[in-house]
Assembly symmetry: C2
Homo-oligomer: 136 residues x 2
């Protein structure tokens, strides 16, 4: 197992994750915290994110535009993902946990998490007339 010790940087990473609704990637967290912790390393961000996920304190939203995105809000909710700019928004959704049993009966496995997401173009990308993939 793993005995976990306190770490200032780990606390800061978790706090940064909890105080945003952006569903940041490792890189996003890194650049956000770099000013406060000039000696922060990207590897540390990755390592701590993995711990958070293992501990169930943070959840992965999936890979968006090549980068894995994380969410400290572990309450069930759905996401809207913009395929142009990669923005991830929370949206409300029907309760899906009720389907777990049905899926387990169907597959013979066990369900530990579920994820519902809608992909499309966000309001800003629509207004800017951006095509998929353009971020500029």
């Amino acid at each position: 197992m793993e005995a976990r010790k306190f770490s200032k940087k780990r606390a800061a990473i978790l706090e940064a994750l909890r105080s945003t609704h952006e569903h940041p990637s490792a890189e996003m967290l890194y650049s956000r915290l770099k000013s406060e912790f000039p000696d922060l390393s990207l590897g540390t961000v990755y390592r701590n994110l993995a711990m958070f996920v293992a501990d169930g304190d943070v959840v992965s939203v999936g890979t968006v535009l090549g980068q894995e995105r994380y969410d400290a809000d572990t309450a069930p909710h759905a996401h809207f993902i913009c395929s142009c700019c990669g923005r991830v928004l929370d949206v409300c959704s029907p309760n899906l946990a009720g389907l777990d049993r049905q899926i387990e009966a169907e597959t013979g496995g066990i369900v530990t998490s579920r994820s519902l997401s809608f992909t499309g173009k966000c309001v800003d990308c629509l207004a800017a007339g951006r095509a998929n993939g353009d971020t500029a």
Copy 2:
């Protein structure tokens, strides 16, 4: 735009995708087709998959254990993903397309696709007592 010409390999890749329920990755398709087309290149598989997705003939199921997985079944359905072995199974789901309008109203964007997936341990990994990440 893109004028598309016929290609034996492209047809074979699409056919391989259509005749399986494994939701293969590029690598999986490559190794499956390698015996029939010894000079097949992995780059070609990636290039054709991108075309299929652009043309709407194939859909991405998302990134599972680091590899993007594809599905030629574009009818709406949900997936069960085993976090141990990466297996992806089709499961039935409630109709979600009806939620598109609601999400669009909520976000101001437009929804072009939706995806529902359940993650857990499949029946084989349960029986083998595998932990998450073990594939052996």
